[in-house]
C-alpha cells in the first residue's frame, strides 16, 4: 500500500468504524462523498475566528468573511478553468443550479415548438426541470438514446439535434452507467445549430479535471457534497454574457443594487442570483475541498480509481447471474458500477451486503426513465473513491458472492 494512500485514509475517520460489527466499506460515493478532516477543520476554524455575514458589515470581521467567501469563488473558477470568478454562482446544489438555468435562462430562449434535447441517462434533476420548461412553453422534449454498448448514441444525438434545438442538457458522467459523455464534441455540434449546452457535472467533478473553456459549455452544474465538501453548497458556472442576460429567480437581500417603493435594480451577475444570506460555511468547506483535491492531484485520483475499477470489473463480470449495466469494459467506465443478481431484488442484495458492513445503493438512482429503458425497476450500485483499496475490492466481490449464495440457498 503506498504511503500517500495511508495518509489519505487517516483524513477520513468515518471510514474506520464498524457497521453491523464489520469494518465499514463505504461504496456509495456517487450519492455523497465522505468529508476529510482538513475540510472539516477549515469550516470549524472559520466559525471560530472569521464568521460574520458577507457583503454587509463595514467592520473588520465582516470584511474578512466576505474576502474568504469571494476568494473561494476565484478558487472554483480556477478549479474548472473558468475565465473569471464572475461566471461562478453559488447555489444549494446541482439540482438548484440546473433549476436556475431551466427557469431563468430556459424562459428566455425556449419558445413554442422549439426543442430541448436531453439524454435518456439523465438524473431526474437534469430531466424534470426541462420537462417542466417544455410544458410551460409548449416546446418539445427529446431524448438521445443509448447505443448497443449502453454508451450515449452519438449518431442518435446528431439525428435529433436540429435548428429547432435551443438547449442541449447532458450529464458529463452517468450516475448509473458510469460512462463519461463526449461533452466537447456534443458542444461543438450543438453550437453549430446555435443551441446552448448545459452540463450536469455532479458525478464527474470529483473524478476528472474539468476545463469549461476547452469544453466550451455554456453552463455547468455541480455539488460540493459529491467532491469531499459539505452538503448544501453547489455551483453553477455560466458564460458571463449569458448570466448577464438572465433574470434572478429569487429576490431579497444582497441581490439588489437599489430598491424603491415601486422597483428594484439588480446587482450584476453572479451576485444577483444570490438572494439572502448564503451558505457561507458551506462555501468555505467547498474551497477547502478544492484545496484538498488539488493537493492530492486529480491525475492521482483518476489513476487510483481507474486501478480499482480495472481490478474490480472483470471479477464482477465473472460472477454467474450478475448483470452489469453500462459498458462492460473498463476503458469506458468511470468508478460507478450498477448491477443486478439474477432473480434477486436489489433491496435484498443491499440488505445482505449491509449485514456484512458493505454500504451500497439499491434503487432507481433518480433515473427512472433510464431504468425503464434498461428494462429494470432498480439496480444495486457500487461507486468507488480513491479512499477505497484493492483489498476492499476483493472483499466486495467475496461479499457479493456470499449474498448470492445466501439467497439462492433459501429459494
Amino acid at each position: 500500500m503506498d504511503k500517500k494512500f495511508e495518509n489519505v485514509i487517516k483524513d477520513f475517520p468515518i471510514l474506520s468504524q464498524k457497521i453491523n460489527d464489520e469494518p465499514l466499506l463505504y461504496l456509495d460515493n456517487a450519492a455523497t462523498s465522505q468529508t476529510p478532516n482538513p475540510v472539516l477543520n477549515e469550516m470549524v476554524s472559520f466559525y471560530q475566528s472569521e464568521n460574520a455575514n458577507v457583503h454587509r458589515g463595514v467592520y473588520t470581521l465582516a470584511n474578512e468573511a466576505t474576502t474568504a467567501y469571494e476568494n473561494v469563488r476565484e478558487q472554483v473558477a480556477e478549479f474548472i478553468h473558468a475565465p473569471n470568478a464572475k461566471s461562478i454562482v453559488y447555489t444549494r446544489s446541482t439540482t438548484e443550479s440546473l433549476n436556475l438555468v431551466a427557469s431563468s435562462f430556459g424562459d428566455l430562449v425556449v419558445h413554442e415548438s422549439d426543442e430541448i434535447l436531453i439524454t435518456i441517462m439523465e438524473h431526474h434533476s437534469n430531466l424534470i426541470p426541462w420537462q417542466q420548461l417544455a410544458k410551460r412553453k409548449h416546446a418539445k422534449l427529446k431524448y438521445v438514446e443509448l447505443a448497443d454498448d449502453q454508451t450515449l448514441d452519438i449518431a442518435d444525438f446528431k439525428r435529433k439535434l436540429t435548428e429547432r434545438t435551443k438547449i442541449v442538457a447532458v450529464t458529463q458522467m452517468s450516475n448509473v452507467l458510469g460512462v463519461t459523455n463526449p461533452i466537447k464534441e456534443i458542444t461543438r455540434l450543438a453550437h453549430q445549430q446555435h443551441a446552448y449546452v448545459v452540463v450536469d457535472a455532479a458525478q464527474s467533478v470529483a473524478h476528472q479535471s474539468i476545463d469549461v473553456q476547452d469544453l466550451d459549455v455554456d453552463f455547468l452544474a455541480f455539488s460540493g457534497h459529491k467532491m469531499l465538501g459539505p452538503t448544501g453548497i453547489g455551483v453553477l458556472f455560466g458564460k458571463a454574457e449569458l448570466l448577464d442576460e438572465m433574470n434572478p429567480v429569487q429576490f431579497g437581500g444582497e441581490m439588489i443594487e437599489a430598491v424603491s417603493r415601486t422597483q428594484a435594480k439588480w446587482q450584476s451577475a453572479p451576485w444577483k442570483f444570490e438572494a439572502g444570506t448564503q451558505n457561507i460555511g458551506g462555501v468555505i468547506g467547498l474551497g477547502a475541498a478544492i484545496t484538498y483535491i488539488s493537493k492530492l492531484k486529480m491525475t492521482w485520483i483518476e489513476a487510483t480509481e481507474h486501478k480499482l475499477l480495472t481490478y474490480l470489473l472483470p471479477q464482477l463480470v465473472q460472477i454467474k447471474g450478475l448483470t452489469i449495466y453500462g459498458p462492460q469494459t473498463v476503458a469506458e467506465h468511470g468508478s460507478i458500477v450498477a448491477f443486478n443478481l439474477a432473480n434477486l431484488h436489489p433491496h435484498d442484495v443491499a440488505t445482505g451486503l449491509d449485514m456484512l458492513g458493505v454500504e451500497v445503493r439499491a434503487g432507481h438512482h433518480c433515473a427512472q426513465p433510464l431504468m425503464t429503458t434498461l428494462g429494470v425497476e432498480s439496480t444495486v450500485r457500487a461507486s468507488l473513491s480513491f479512499y477505497n483499496s484493492l483489498a476492499d475490492m476483493d472483499r466486495f466481490v467475496y461479499d457479493v458472492k456470499m449474498v448470492k449464495e445466501f439467497f439462492n440457498r433459501e429459494s
Binding site: H345, D348, T351, M355, L356, H364, E377
Partner: protein, 147 residues
C-alpha cells in the same frame, strides 16, 4: 455481523410467501384499488378489494418488489380477507406498530397471522417501507385515514 442475522428476516415462511405469493392477481370486479410506489426503488404495489356490506369479501395485489414487499403483501391479503373494515384498519395499524418494534397483544398477533413474524423488521429499519407498502395501500383502499 455475518449473514446469519439475515435469517431473522428472511425466514422460511417469508421466502415461501415471496416465492409463492397468495392472492397475487387483479380483481376485475374490485370495488376499489389503490396503487402505491416505494419512492426509493420504484417498486409499485396495487391492492384490490371487493367489499360487501362492511366486510372485505376479496382482496388481492399485483406489482413487483423485493422479497420483503412481496411476502408482506401476500401475508396482508391472508390477514385482511373476511375482516370487517374497522377491524381491517385496526389490523393494518397493528402491523405498523409491530414493524416499529412495539410489542403486540397475543390477540393482535394472532390476527396478523404469518405477518406477525415480520416483527424482526424492527432490526432492519431501512426495510420497513418495503414491508408496509402493501398495508398502506390496503388501509387506503378500505378508506382508512392515512397518517
Amino acid at each position: 455481523m455475518s449473514l446469519n442475522k439475515l435469517n431473522q428476516l428472511y425466514l422460511a415462511v417469508v421466502m415461501d410467501h415471496a416465492n409463492h405469493p397468495h392472492h397475487k392477481s387483479s380483481l376485475p370486479d374490485a370495488t376499489k384499488s389503490v396503487e402505491l410506489h416505494n419512492v426509493s426503488c420504484g417498486d409499485d404495489i396495487r391492492v384490490f378489494i371487493k367489499t360487501k356490506a362492511d366486510r372485505i369479501e376479496e382482496i388481492s395485489f399485483t406489482g413487483n418488489g423485493c422479497t420483503i414487499s412481496q411476502a408482506s403483501a401476500s401475508m396482508m391479503t391472508d390477514a385482511l380477507k373476511d375482516l370487517t373494515i374497522p377491524v381491517a384498519i385496526k389490523t393494518c395499524d397493528d402491523f405498523f406498530q409491530l414493524t416499529m418494534g412495539k410489542t403486540l397483544t397475543s390477540k393482535a398477533k394472532k390476527a396478523l397471522g404469518d405477518a406477525a413474524i415480520l416483527g424482526s423488521l424492527a432490526e432492519f429499519p431501512a426495510r420497513i417501507k418495503c414491508a408496509t407498502l402493501a398495508w398502506h395501500a390496503a388501509k387506503e383502499a378500505v378508506g382508512g385515514e392515512i397518517k
